[in-house]
Symmetry: C2
Subunit: 182 residues, 2 copies
């Protein structure tokens, strides 16, 4: 099913994304073009404690809206392990440290035009809050929510960020277990 690359055109090399255009040959012999946004990948983390989760609210320039999302960030350092990234972003964006990071698998956010992969984590055993440590171009509010309210907001379409919805679904299995342990 693979598509054969006949030509690669490097369109743009940004600080976050790279853009390429390819001329490809399909398995059926048809020639076509593919536009691809290269992304370094990212990690997103749902911090959970005592029936509560912590989210971040921030302005998103591409959509000109404020969104409620799980803490997340791109794999900054070359070769940074996704869990390290999750740990770093959690601390920078919310001030929380967590003892345990449970891996919930990954998602492709938009495989039709980008290779962005996001690794998902549930963070538990949260330690006392320190102050945020944001990049100079980040302005982020931390929002505390009951797990049930968070899950319902994802289910009913009030939370619309794809990685955050995936975290709600993937974490639901484990949160159920945590509750039944109590």
């Amino acid at each position: 099913m693979k598509e054969k690359v006949l030509e690669e055109l490097r369109i743009f090399e940004g600080k976050v994304i790279g853009v390429r255009k390819y001329r490809v040959e399909l398995p059926n012999g048809v020639e076509s073009t593919r536009e691809v946004v290269r992304h370094p990948g990212a990690a997103a983390v749902l911090p959970y404690t005592n029936g509560k989760v912590f989210l971040v609210r921030q302005y998103r320039f591409p959509i000109d809206e404020e969104l409620l999302e799980a803490p997340a960030g791109k794999l900054d350092v070359v070769g940074e392990a996704p869990e390290e990234c999750a740990r770093r972003e959690l601390e920078e964006e919310t001030g929380f440290k967590a003892n345990t990071f449970m891996y919930l698998g990954y998602i492709y956010t938009t495989p039709g035009f980008s290779d962005e992969i996001i690794h998902l984590y549930l963070a538990t055993g949260l330690e006392e809050k320190k102050s945020q440590n944001l990049d100079e171009d980040e302005i982020i509010d931390v929002v505390e929510m009951d797990w049930e309210e968070f899950y319902r907001a994802c289910l009913e379409g009030k939370i619309v960020d794809s990685k955050t919805i995936a975290l709600a679904l993937r974490a639901s299995k484990i949160i159920g277990t945590l509750h039944s342990d109590q």
Copy 2:
């Protein structure tokens, strides 16, 4: 919280995406740049009947992998209504027509660098299968799955496409109702 655009640079105008680079001023006075992928928006649809869903398996060039996804496509025609798009893509990719499209809200797939919005639908009342009607650069297999198996695959990380996972979560509320009606 809005960011003020100081300068817009048009980097690329493709057949699917457009790429822009902006110089912006943040509310705190800091100047920064934003790289944005403009996308026309899309619709995705989960076709459901008698405890079964229908998905599509296709090769995705950006990630060089085959993925299992809900039928979906971008808003092709200027001003195309999302539900029309969902109806068209369902028929083209799977050969199914549906009597009822229930709107499950929308998601932003990757609001950090793109404005892509995907409108989500649950399609029920499926009519007899006709043959697919694919674009010449599409090669797509239709896959039938039990709802429970589909939901579990999203939960356990075997299905990794973000819009498909969002559909599983959003549809779960309604599928539960449909089942309890029987």
